[in-house]
Symmetry: C2
Subunit: 376 residues, 2 copies
């Protein structure tokens, strides 16, 4: 049998599906795309067992079939072709021949039976346990961009390796933490009737960041799966089943000292201090007194150190507090669009809250940093 | 003692000197800059023992000294500063303090006696064995850009790990080869009275490619060293002492069949064929007959293959010849500015010459490719 498709349309589709193909996997069959041709529609699937992606394209075809094609090789070949019609000639011998005006390319295909089953979600889910929201693609992207950096990479606590979707009376909170820092974005526009929470794995977040655009996304949520429908794409992800830790218990409510700084100025100081905070703890010290912030770092091995002073607004008690400079840098990078920020402090050993001075309408963004010990 | 320098001027200078600092070396002292301050002139040196680079900058200083400063840390700190005056306060304790409006940065310095001696070339060279040429920086860059790719990486034959400067009656030839391919560029404008040859190591070529601009370069040549003076920079390189192989013996003079193709068209075919020529030999096959070139490649492991046809001008005997596709790609990348090229062929086992159809004025460029065996 055969079908025809335009090279550039197919390239665009494959470019959006290939992020779901695992690059290193103990199951080589996952390095394939599943091509399903049914009634003039080509649907392409990829999965790494945790997430699956699919999308469809209308094609010219008389027959129906399913085959597995090597994802990377196929994508590289399609990408390298100019704008042309490709005829896929699927032969019963396990070969498929791609024919264009210029050339012929032979690939081997595998039987679709070897491919894992793609969950048919939410279709087979009972409506009682299914929730549904619609969110604009840009808003979802914004939430992931502000919070994804703080997800944990430690396999010891699986729940923290994902992003918490927490539906509350105030709206939808996106929360990430690795125990050293925490990011918490509230979108007040998105609400569910019931309070509930879901933990989306890191890989789903990073793949979504590659395919989200400004169009609306429909999200279906169950206890085991979440699906994202956007335009012609559908991403289905398993959820992390472990309970998300009670992060609210680490958020201090009574940090009474406010340190206000220009984000850009502080960020450029921190970037220089990172050059000197190269030892294990990567420690940078904030020495804060009335309207003056002194920032310093020292590398004992290199015998090198740096100290800078920054004008700030501060009326609280004089205070010395240490941070991991890389974590401060991460937080500031994700607040770069905010002109001014406030560090809410209490003491050298208590968690610090960092907030933009001007909240974006319908949003609340909060970052939290744990201090590191100062040994002097 | 102390001296003052503008941060941006120092950054510009360090950015040009740092390519000579080795990144991995069994001699950690080479990871430093030598700062020499003499009569209001700061001269900065770096060396990896094979090449050395130096440049100077006028500064404000009352005293003279020499110290060694950690190259990467210093460069990173200077790069991160805004446009400002830096005061270097060199203390007798082995510390230097960099002071700006905003902050203070302490670095440790080493005694200059630990640094290897920089060859004083050509000053201490007898004039009998010294030659001298002037070449425009863009012309020297052009020569390296066209030929550097074919230098060998095999330590077995040290001479081939450099670029041959061969002064002939016709002009200066730049020659590189690794035994599989050869690049040969003749610059007819540059001549010496005597025929002579020099082999410049790869590292000197790659560092020069980072600092050459359109200004004239003065080159001094002796049996052991070559130096390049450009603007405020001076690069001195040891030469490779092994004799360069007699490459002219492998250049076939009587390849009678001319295959003329559009460079861009052939290059895009080769890029696709590289996707299929992924086995050890990376073989691509050219099947040539009157005015038609069929190009094919096959990966037996993947069970994948590709075939394309390209219109060409060819009047010779029908011929099948194999090449390493990565080497063909390299040659075509370095001929990308040429609209049309000619492959001069004789048989499936004889070296092939590749020439642009239109020579650039005062230049002759030739590439050579060894074929690989076809096993059918």
């Amino acid at each position: 049998m055969e079908f025809k498709v335009n090279s550039k349309e197919l390239e665009k589709l494959l470019s959006k599906i290939i992020p779901a193909v695992p690059t290193r996997t103990p199951m080589p069959v996952l390095e394939n795309f599943l091509f399903e041709i049914k009634d003039g529609l080509l649907t392409i699937y990829a999965t790494d067992l945790e997430i699956s992606l699919k999308s469809s394209l209308k094609i010219v075809s008389e027959e129906n079939t399913k085959i597995l094609l090597p994802a990377k090789l196929l994508y590289d070949v399609i990408k390298s072709l100019s704008d042309t019609t490709i005829r896929f000639d699927i032969q019963s011998s396990g070969k498929v021949i791609l024919i264009t005006d210029q050339g012929k390319y032979n690939l081997s295909y595998l039987d679709e039976a070897e491919f894992p089953e793609i969950p048919d979600f939410p279709n087979t889910t009972s409506s009682e346990e299914l929730n549904e929201i619609t969110i604009n693609g840009s808003d979802l992207r914004f939430a992931f961009e502000k919070t994804a950096f703080a997800m944990s990479k430690e396999e010891m606590r699986p729940a923290m390796m994902g992003t918490l979707f927490q539906f509350t009376e105030e709206g939808l909170r996106f929360v990430t933490t690795d125990g050293h820092r925490l990011a918490n974005l509230l979108n007040k526009n998105i609400k569910l009737d019931v309070e509930s929470q879901y933990v989306l794995p890191e890989r789903a977040v990073s793949v979504l960041l590659k395919i989200l655009d400004e169009k609306d996304v429909k999200i279906y949520l169950s206890k085991s799966h979440m699906s994202f429908k956007l335009n012609e794409f559908e991403l289905i992800s398993r959820l992390i089943k472990q309970k998300y830790p009670d992060y609210s218990s680490v958020i201090p409510l009574e940090n009474e000292f406010d340190l206000e700084v220009e984000t850009k100025d502080l960020h450029s100081v921190i970037k220089r201090m990172m050059l000197f905070s190269t030892s294990n703890t990567r420690r940078v010290k904030f020495s804060i007194k009335e309207n003056n912030l002194e920032i310093s770092a020292e590398d004992l091995d290199l015998g090198a150190s740096g100290t800078e002073n920054l004008i700030c607004k501060y009326k609280g008690d004089a205070l010395e507090i240490g941070f991991n400079s890389a974590y401060v840098n991460d937080v500031l990078s994700h607040l770069a669009s905010e002109k001014k920020i406030v560090f809410k402090l209490h003491s050298a050993t208590k968690a610090v809250i960092i907030l933009p001075t001007e909240a974006k309408e319908n949003y609340e963004l909060m970052m939290l940093l744990m201090p590191v010990r100062l040994n002097n």
